[in-house]
Amino acid sequence: MNEINNSLMNTGTLWLPEAISDIAGSVDSLFYFIFWISVLTFIGIMGVSLYFLVKYRASNNKPKEKHITHNTLIEVVWTVVPTILCMVIFYWGFTDYMRLKTAPGDAIQIRVTGEKWLWNFDYANGTNTVGELAVPVDTPVQLIMSAKDVLHSFFIPNLRVKRDLIPNRYTTIWFEANKTGSFQIFCTEYCGDGHSNMLANLHVMPMDKYQDWLASGGGSNKDMPLAELGAKLYKQMGCNACHTLDGSKSVGPSWLGVYNSHRQLTSGKTVTANDNYIRQAIVDPGSDVVAGYPPVMPTYAGKLSDRDINAIIEFIKAQK
């Protein structure tokens, strides 16, 4: 699967990124409606002020006049007109919101679990991915979301959808993408150190491709060389949220030079970071905790196949 190919900055209109669903388009219309009302009112207010500033400067001597302190008509106008505008905006915003909120009954359902700091996606057929959400184009998709630890929020800018994930509770969003390609997913509810690395990719693909993808258990990596797969998993599984490759300390230790080095554990023991140790660190992170770090790494048991783990080990080896 390719990297994100649709930039947020360079597509779409001046203000908004490209919209890839009908509702997103409608949201944009409202955005621009408010935008132009604001711009016009703003120019009006500023223009009038500027005119007064120039016209009634203290240096412009002017005859003494009775001060105007009331004008019922104008006061009513500037109360009533904004009120009406506001009600229009409210109503429009609300109806679109309900459309954004209420999924059609036949939507494909995908479960999303947010945890510090990665996204899990579970498909009905048992396929499970981390950080990669694939959906068919022109088909309604509903995400049933919940969080494992703290609040997270699932945000796809191109679809104009966003919703918080809450522990012990389900929230949902739905969308129907009308364009294929890869798009950015963000976590937008602050969730700690890895918040800004809690990213994922949305892949919108034609139905047949989607079916293949599902059947192969979330895209086949069979042909990829191990080290390359490791590099891919490093990003896809969210290891990069906590581990750097350049030696700088993040939430977890950097992977630079880890392989075969001596690791000081909180238990007081020192061990060598061989293949077994790394494997253990991945599937049961709580067992050996490196000194100086909090025991916060999630377990990847069940999320990574043996081949995946081997691939990551190869990748870590390569970080010298």
Binding site: L8, M9, L14, W15, L16, P17, S26, V27, L30, F31, I34, S38, T41, F42, I45, V48, S49, F52, L53, Y56, R57, A58, K62, K64, H67, T69, N71, E75, W78, P82, C86, M87, I89, F90, W92, G93, F94, Y97, M98, L151, P157, K162, R163, D164, I166, P167, R169, Q184, C187, T188, E189, Y190, G192, D193, G194, H195, S196, N197, K249, S250
Partner: protein, 531 residues
């Protein structure tokens, strides 16, 4: 009682103890001012720190945790230590009794107590800074805040204590406004700044205790567990957000209402015109205060709040725009056929008008449900609230500060440098934050330490603006401090203001007025004054 001497409140007693134990509202106001300036510097320091980090998409010089602490402390310091007390406690304390023609606030001792409560709260905040800081965001959302290993408890305690300082100020102002008005000063002869402080005081009294108890509950939650915010026990984390915003939304009007009051003073004085729609402005302050209690849910649109509640809150949110608009239009109309004098305070008035309108209009974007789905928790929100808080409230604060500076210290500052600094601040501010509107609509989430490479040009541009803004503040600090020592002596009424504080000496006497003034007209009767 008041013998005619050249003594004023600044030099009638000397020595540090005479300040620390003073019951004079003017001195207490000045002490607040000092602390608030320091807090602003501290908050600004964190702002610079976090903007620097955002120069590059990945790590520049802070770790993720340090960055998170930086924006949390920036937000918490700016909100709790700086902006909430800024206009009411510093300027209001100084000006309110003077404008009412009173000798002091109703409870001078309580006033001093509220100052010390503030200092105590500040001490806790500083303590938490050195005790591991906080990394929860200024909103302290659960369950993250009950799990974070940083010093959340001391910071929430700080906010709790600071809340009480604010409540005491509110209680004091209510009693003062009701009972201490000079003879002849009816409700509709009160200056609009007083009206604004009155509306503010109501919110302070009725909203602040809720955040107090909320933060207390948070503390208990993380120490003993109360369970009500903890999903693992069957509690509801969204409840915390309800509790928090029940206060914190009205709190934004605690900030902006006094700012609007200052605006009304500035526009009349520098246009030499009776204000347009006095009563409407006064009532709209009350209207805003009341509506402000009904809209807190607009911060929860995407939190899992029910759609019914979303609908109600969205509808009510739009209602706030109307009284705010009334004020804006009234100020503009006041300029009509005025005698406009572009002095430094009036420049801040214009900045406020410009920036607050942008801040307010973008609030309308956020209030619209479907649009908020896209914009929530992006830099658009960051830009919105900086336009209202910094662009609105801080501009008004600076305007008020420059307006009353001669009265406070008896010295004039350099008008030329004042204008230059105002220009720097205005340009720098737009530079930093207008950029962030575009970042936000394009999808850049807030509270992000790392970001996508494609956002870098705008982020870097925004960071550059910070230095222009900072320069403006440094210039200001220099000429204001300079004026204290070398400034020209200020006349009693440098701007030709008509409210009662300009009747008092400059700086005012210890007892404010030599004899209690009697009021016979409205506060802004410039027509009678010959304009």
């Amino acid at each position: 009682m008041s013998t005619k001497t050249i003594k004023n409140y600044l030099n009638c007693e000397t020595g540090i103890m005479s300040w620390l134990t003073t019951l004079d509202h003017k001195r207490i106001g000045v002490m607040y001012l000092l602390f608030i300036a320091i807090s602003f510097g501290l908050g600004g320091f964190f702002a610079l720190a976090l903007r620097m980090e955002l120069l590059t998409p990945t790590q520049l010089y802070l770790t993720a945790k340090q960055y998170n602490q930086a924006f949390t402390l920036h937000g918490a310091v700016m909100v709790f230590l700086f902006i909430i007390p800024s206009i009411p406690a510093a300027l209001g304390n100084f000006v309110l009794p003077l404008q009412l023609g009173a000798k002091d606030v109703a409870f001078p001792r309580l006033n001093l107590a509220s100052f010390y409560v503030y200092v105590l709260g500040a001490a806790f905040a500083i303590f938490s800074l050195f005790n591991g800081a906080v990394d929860t965001g200024w909103t302290f959302y659960t369950p993250y805040s009950t799990q974070s290993d940083t010093s959340v408890i001391s910071m929430t305690l700080a906010a709790f204590i600071l809340g009480f300082s604010s409540i005491l100020t509110g209680v004091n102002f209510i009693a003062t406004i009701h009972k201490m008005r000079a003879p002849g000063m009816t409700w509709f002869r009160m200056p609009l700044f007083v009206w604004a402080l009155y509306a503010t005081a109501i919110i302070q009294i009725l909203a602040t205790p809720v955040v107090g108890i909320t933060l207390l509950l948070l503390i208990f939650e993380s120490t003993f567990g109360v369970g009500i915010f903890d999903p693992a026990l069957g509690g509801d984390p969204i409840l915390f957000q309800h509790f928090f915003w029940f206060y914190s939304h009205p709190a934004v009007y605690i900030m902006v209402l006094p700012a609007m009051g200052v605006m009304s003073e500035l526009v009349t004085t520098f246009c030499k015109k009776n204000i347009f729609g006095y009563k409407l402005i006064a009532y709209s302050s009350l209207a805003i205060a009341i509506i402000s209690f009904l809209v807190w849910g607009h911060h929860l649109f995407l939190s899992g709040q029910s759609s019914y509640a979303n609908m109600i809150f969205s509808l009510l949110t739009f209602l706030v725009g109307i009284p705010s608009g009334i004020k804006v239009f009234n100020w503009v109309t006041t300029m009509y056929k005025g005698t406009i004098d572009l002095k430094t305070p009036f420049l801040y008035f214009l900045s406020f008008l410009f920036l607050f309108c942008i801040g307010g209009f973008t609030g309308m974007f956020l209030g619209a449900l479907s649009v908020d789905v896209h914009l929530h928790d992006t830099y658009f929100v960051v830009a919105h609230f900086h336009y209202t808080m910094m662009g609105g409230v801080v501009m008004a604060f600076l305007g008020g500060l420059h307006y009353w500076w001669p009265k406070m210290f008896g010295k004039m500052y350099s008008e030329k440098w004042g204008r230059i600094a105002a220009a720097f601040v205005f340009v720098g501010f737009n530079w930093v934050f207008f950029t962030q509107f575009i970042l936000g609509t394009k999808g850049m989430p807030r509270r992000y330490y790392n970001y996508l490479d494609q956002f870098q040009p705008l982020h870097a541009f925004s960071t550059m603006g910070t230095f222009v803004l900072g320069t403006g503040f440094i210039i200001m600090a220099v000429y204001l401090i300079h004026s204290l020592f070398k400034g020209e002596k200020a006349p009693a009424n440098p701007w030709g203001g008509l409210t009662l504080e300009w009747v008092a000496d400059t700086p005012p006497d210890h007892h404010n007025f030599h004899e209690t003034p009697t009021v016979t007209t409205g506060p802004y009767d410039y027509e009678k004054a010959g304009y």
